[in-house]
Structures are given as C-alpha cells and as structure tokens.
Amino acid sequence: MQIDLSGKTARIAGADHPISAALGDRLTGCGARLVPAGPADVLILSAPLLEAAGFDWDGLADTARTEGAAMKARGGGRIVFLLSASAGLPVRRQPDLSARMAGLGVLMRTLAMSLAPEVAVNAMGAGAIGGDALCSGTAEMIGHASVGRAGTVREACDVALFLCDPDNGYLTGQLLCADGGWGAGYGRSF
C-alpha cells in the first residue's frame, strides 16, 4: 500500500516503540519529511503500548489539543493516535493501560468533532503485535485472535498509514484495530 505524502511534513510525538519507529520509516517512504517538533501536516500521537506507569499521559493529551487547534487554524491535516486495542475492549491484565487507552480513544473522538472539517482525527488500535517479544497486547490475546497468530509491526503500521492518507477526507473519529479479530468476539469454540 502506498499513500502520497510528498511535500508534507510528519511528526511523531509521545512514546517510542517498534510501531512508532517503523511508522516513521513508512511515512518517509511515502514522501513525508519527518520533523522533530513544531507544526506538521501529519501528527502521530504515540501512546506506550505495554506499560502505563512513568509516561506523561497528560502531556500527550495536551499535545493533541494544542497541535490539533494549530492544525485546524492552518486549514488542514491528519492526526493519528497509536493506541492499544484495549481502547475498545479493556484487558484484565492491563487495567491501568486500558483506562488510559479508553481515555485517549474518547479524546480522539471529541477532537474529531471539534477539529472538523479541516482536520481528520483517528486511531490505530494494536492487538497482539510482535514476534517472540510482543510490543503490544498480551500472549493470551493471540489464541483469541481468529487468524491464529500475532500481527506484525508492519501490519499495525499499514493501518496507521491508511489513516494518515490525505485523500481520506470523510473518515474521522474512528478507532481501527489491527488485532486479527481479537476484539470481535470469542474466537474459540467452547
């Protein structure tokens, strides 16, 4: 999949993890110029995907609000949150993380309403993503994803990249999960 970001700037704020790192490369590959700070046409707001403690959650939300308002004033852009799929379905083993994700998911939706029509705001929700060591989700989730495997970092990036597409002018306020069907229901037969 390829989207056209030539002439656009992109900025990744928040937590560093394999998905945010790989997404930076993908954005560059689509023609965007990565900027470390300041205004950007595409703003990625990256949440930690495994551990809630020690991260400045309020800082990420503040960045979303202030940069979103500036983006709207400039006349357009895309904001994409990198979240865990627990934004949509809380995970017993990750209570604090799930609560943070749900909060950011609602922030994403309220920003989608307040920043329209200039800015589209959406979120990628990562299920069990990674190889031997998962960078998102828990090992228990894999057996409940009906595709029967963990997802790859690339597959999570693909969803995020789709949400960055400047052509998607009517898609806003959505949490789109890369979770292999984990959140859809009981993927096992009892």
Binding site: M1, G151, A156, F162, D165, Y170, L171, A178, A184, G187
Partner: protein
C-alpha cells in the same frame, strides 16, 4: 492510496449503484478483475463494459438460487473469488413511518434484501473460497443507521445493525481460513436516492437538510469515492491483520454528540 490487487477477483453486489460503481472503479483501477453484480443487469453490463477484464452478473441476492448461479458464472469465467463486497441494499422511500405503522410487506422486503441477501451471497461465495484455501476478504457495507438508530426506517436500522454484528460473527468463524471479514458503515452519501430525500431542491426532507448537516462534523454528505477508498484498503494486502472491524466513513457523525 494505491494498493496492489493485481489479478484478484472482486465481486461487488449492487455494483451498478452509486456507491457500488465507485467501488468497482476503485478496485479495477488498482488491478482487480471486477464482477459487477446487480439485479439491474443492464446497469451491470454498462459498467463492466467500461472496466478492464470485468464481468457483469445479474444477481438477485435475496434469492438463494440466483446467488449460487451468479457465483457459478464468476467461477466459470475466473475460477476464483478473492474479494466479496456485500454492497447491495435497500431502504424504504415510500414508507417513512414509525414502527407502529410500518407495513409488514415493506419490512420483509428490506430485511430479505439487506440481511438475508448478505448471508445468502456470502454463503454462496464462501464455499469456493474456503475450498480453494487461498484466503480472501469479505467487506460488508452496513450503515451509520446500524450504529446510531434513526427514525422512520426501523427495518433498515435493524438489518444494518445485524450486518455489523454478522460481520463480527463471520470474522471469528472464518479468520482461521485466512478469510478476513470487515464492515464499512457509510454516513449520508450523495447519490440519486439521498438527493430525492435530502439534498435535492424538492427533496422529501429538503427544508431540514441544513439542520441535519449540523450533526455531521465534516458538514457535508460523503462522496461514493470516499467509501470506495475504505473498501480498497480493507480488500488490500495491507489490511492483513484487520478482522471483525466496523469502520464508519461518516464525516464524524457517530464519533459523538455533535451539538
């Protein structure tokens, strides 16, 4: 976005309609061999003639035999189905009334096409897809009315909500075959039908259209191409870990309470 669907066979029901036509064109432009399936055979043939290596198929999705005959015609031409887009559907135009007065015959017509038709067409296509063992994609076109209920269209609301949940049921049953099922919930999309209801000068709800638009953060109806782009993503190799999702393409309509 661009995606590589080179050689994939994509069946689009309701393919001759406004959204269906945009889906067919989008998939064909990205390399798919498209089957324009529609109860309107003339419309399907006209569109297929305009697409490379496409097939027109007159199908009534609410008829089990017609769905199977259509799939047989697709297999005889291409030998495979990779993507099924269950896009065909109807809503009531003449009977904009509340549930206590909703006519049974109109209820049956809408549920039979929208919900039964999605089941019948999926079942017909899935038999060869599962047997082939090469995986595939099913994309069900639901509606925002299946997420947030709206008045004077109760069977449509019920059938589209059922499609959202049927999508999840299909996703968890078919995922281990490599067949991924997702739904798209279009918001209000500009077409001949919605023009007659809302957007035309003499539309049925014309005077209320401005008020209606205040509930949509993007402040405008959507474009069929905007739905087609979401279909392209969900049908593409890039969506290989997306399963059981319902993606609303609705200008933010169902993101929250807008007023």
């Amino acid at each position: 976005m661009k995606a590589d669907l080179d050689g994939r066979v994509a069946v689009v029901t309701g393919g001759a309609g406004a959204i269906g036509t945009a889906i067919c064109r989008m998939l064909a432009a990205n390399g798919a061999r498209v089957v324009v399936a529609d109860i309107n055979g003339d419309g399907a043939r006209a569109l297929a003639a305009d697409l490379p290596d496409a097939l027109a198929c007159a199908i009534d999705i609410s008829s089990e035999s017609s769905a199977h005959e259509g799939v047989a015609a697709v297999l005889s031409r291409y030998g495979q189905i990779d993507i099924l887009v269950n896009n065909a559907g109807v809503n009531t135009q003449a009977h904009r009334v509340t549930i206590d007065n909703f006519p049974k015959a109109e209820w049956d017509r809408i549920v039979r096409i929208d919900l039964d038709g999605t089941y019948l067409m999926s079942q017909a296509a899935l038999k060869p897809m599962v047997a082939r063992g090469a995986g595939g994609r099913i994309i069900n076109i639901a509606s925002v009315v299946g997420i947030a209920a709206m008045r004077l269209q109760s069977p449509f609301a019920a059938a589209k909500a059922a499609i959202v949940h049927l999508t999840r049921a299909m996703a968890i049953e078919l995922g281990h075959h490599g067949i991924l099922t997702n739904a798209i919930a279009p918001g209000s999309i500009m077409s001949e039908g919605t023009r007659a209801l809302f957007y035309g000068k003499d539309g049925l709800f014309g005077s209320r259209t401005e008020e209606f638009m205040r509930h949509i953060p993007m402040g405008r109806p959507g474009d069929p191409e905007e739905i087609a782009r979401a279909v392209l993503f969900l049908g593409s190799p890039a969506a290989s870990y997306v399963n059981g999702q319902c993606l609303a393409v609705d200008g933010g309509w169902t993101a929250g309470y807008t007023l």
